[in-house]
Amino acid sequence: MDWLFKFPQIDPDSLLAVKRLTDGSLRALTRNYGDAIENFFYPLQQVLIFFEDVMTGAPWPLVILVLAVIAWFAAHRWSVVSAVAGTLIAIGLIGLWNDAMKTISLVFTATIFSIAIGIPLGILMNRYKRVGRVMQSVLDVMQTMPPFVYLIPVVMLLGIGRVPGFIAVVIYAIPPIIRLTDLGIRLVDKEVLEAADAYGCSRSQKLWKVQIPLAMPTIMAGINQTIMMALGMVVIASMIGVQGLGLNVLQAIANQYFTQGIFNGFAIVGIAIIFDRISQAYGDRLQKHRGATHD
């Protein structure tokens, strides 16, 4: 009866062999192609450094002004503009300006990158049903896999620093934009699509003149979620060398500095509010003529 209480697992030696083989080959890969991989990501690293330099190097009044102007163009509402400016000033007052700029620049670049990759992937997913099914499972795994697990190969291949942190953030944040692009295109009214066909649209005309514009509110919701996920990842990313507010939180945890944790936590919340208000308000404005809201 012993076998009932002890699960008949695969022979430990074989398991060990599998583990050795996988880890070994990953290590070999790093050893042999480490430089190539690093070179490959070098331009990305330069871009990240550039944005960070711009954000931390610019005079603070200019940064506030630019973000306020962006808020105005996205929302056309003074309440949003003042919320954005107020939050930035509060962050500066508690001495977190520089770290906040680093975090904003990381989240911003990660979002841009996620959009640039995620929207085309969402379109592909929608157009080719088989690709879509495969991608669906990949996304499911990406969204449920604990981030620490995929940090391991990323760190093994790229070490510690901005680039691996950035990649981890993108992996974590990209699924919503892909899914919601696909969903948005799927939800486009069938009769409107029929009209596009009846008037002789080519595939790309249909995509750019009908499907994408009509899916835009849903895509905006995806962008909003992507931003929020990216922000949620900054603390974990700081474990592999990303600087900014996340790192402060990490130190606060390690040293039990409660106030430092709270301040940095609120600064992250503040940045979340800034991004959220701007992207929401822009999405709402897109919605305006679609009968969903009237003002």
């Binding site: 009769e191 029929e194 009209a195 066909d197 649209c201 005309q205 003149k209 009509l214 835009m216």
Partner: protein
């Protein structure tokens, strides 16, 4: 604008919905019914042996109850739906065999469509919706706008060109739909229950507008409806479908006076016959002599109007004359009453 000389010749058209339509087309051709195909084989018979010659520059109405295959039929004309077998000849070309690029071009140049639920683009203003077809064809923006504005005015929407569809009522949205179709300057206009979503009064307005426009444009129009009044009012020719098959074809007089079967009989039972029947359809031959001082009515006059005129005059018959005044026949109050009272009596010789 000149009269469209585009005819649409539909020949032996079959459409079967399902996984393997080709397997059943033979059986359907040799008489398998819609019910049998559905119950025993899980396929839906959409269209069954359709043959129609749609006249150039006229309004061809296709009528039938829900599910009779009207939308399926009209979507074959611009091939939004792929046929199972058959042909549709337009300007000497079989639409159903066109390669994709040619088909796209055909849709851009020769057809325009109006939809039941309007199918406007919500993110575009009225003018940008109206010029959509032109934009797709690559017409220069200024030129498209100019032509778009003309049609917006023509359908009575001037001043609304910069509004969004969601700001307009249903009737106005469908005017946008119509303007979008007309600005495409296509010879064929396809209208799938274009007015079914509108209130009765607006609907009558839109019908009048279509008739006015058609008097001038003379396009080849295919108009789908499930409403007999609408069919009789608009249709130069009417086709009645049931379960994917044609039950009867003809003009309004044929349908009212010689309904092919009980199905159509039930359809026409409640219609106001006086408003649609014309005097020449029920008149009798001219007697050799003795016309004397009888009043005359023009051919094309409805029975309703003729009855009113006769009741007001001292005579109880009148001469039916054509536009040039040439006598064609004789119509009496008794005949009018008989024709109005029931389809059965009227169809008797």
């Amino acid at each position: 604008m000149t009269k469209s000389d585009t005819t649409i010749e539909i020949r032996d058209l079959y459409k079967i919905f399902g996984a393997t339509p080709a397997k059943f087309v033979g059986a359907v051709k040799s008489g398998m019914s819609k019910a049998e195909l559905g119950k025993d084989h899980g396929h839906i018979l959409g269209l069954n042996n359709i043959n129609i010659s749609m006249p150039a520059g006229k309004i061809q109405v296709v009528m039938g109850l829900s599910g009779s295959g009207k939308s399926t039929l009209i979507r074959h004309i611009n091939r939004l739906i792929e046929p199972t077998s058959g042909s549709i000849m337009i300007d000497g070309r079989n639409i159903l065999e066109m390669p994709p690029l040619e088909l796209r071009d055909f849709r851009r140049q020769h057809t325009a469509m109006v939809f039941q639920r309007f199918a406007l683009l919500p993110h575009r203003t009225v003018i940008d919706n109206v010029t959509f077809g032109l934009e797709i064809r690559g017409v220069e923006k200024a030129k498209a706008r100019e032509s778009g504005m003309r049609w917006i005015e023509r359908v009575g929407l001037q001043g609304f060109e910069n509004r969004y569809p969601s700001e307009l009522s249903g009737g106005m949205q469908q005017r946008v739909g119509l303007a979008r179709a007309l600005s495409n300057d296509a010879s064929i206009l396809l209208m799938d229950e274009a007015y079914s979503a509108l209130d009765p009064l607006i609907r009558t307005d839109m019908q009048s507008m279509l008739l006015d426009l058609q008097a001038e444009l003379k396009k080849t129009i295919v108009f789908i409806t499930h409403d007999l009044d609408e069919a009789l009012r608009l249709g130069d020719k009417i086709v009645i479908l049931r379960d994917g098959s044609i039950i009867q074809q003809g003009n309004s007089q044929d349908i009212l006076l010689n309904p092919a079967d009980d199905y159509i009989q039930r359809f026409i039972k409640d219609v106001n016959r006086g408003r649609f029947l014309k005097v020449e359809a029920v008149m009798e031959a001219l007697p050799a002599t003795g016309l004397g001082s009888l009043p005359s009515v023009k051919s094309g006059t409805t029975l309703e109007v003729a009855a009113k005129e006769l009741t007001a005059s001292p005579h109880d018959s009148a001469i039916v004359a054509d536009a040039a005044g040439k006598p064609l026949g004789l119509i009496s109050l008794r005949q009018i009453t008989a024709a109005l009272s029931s389809a059965v009596e009227a169809s008797a010789p």
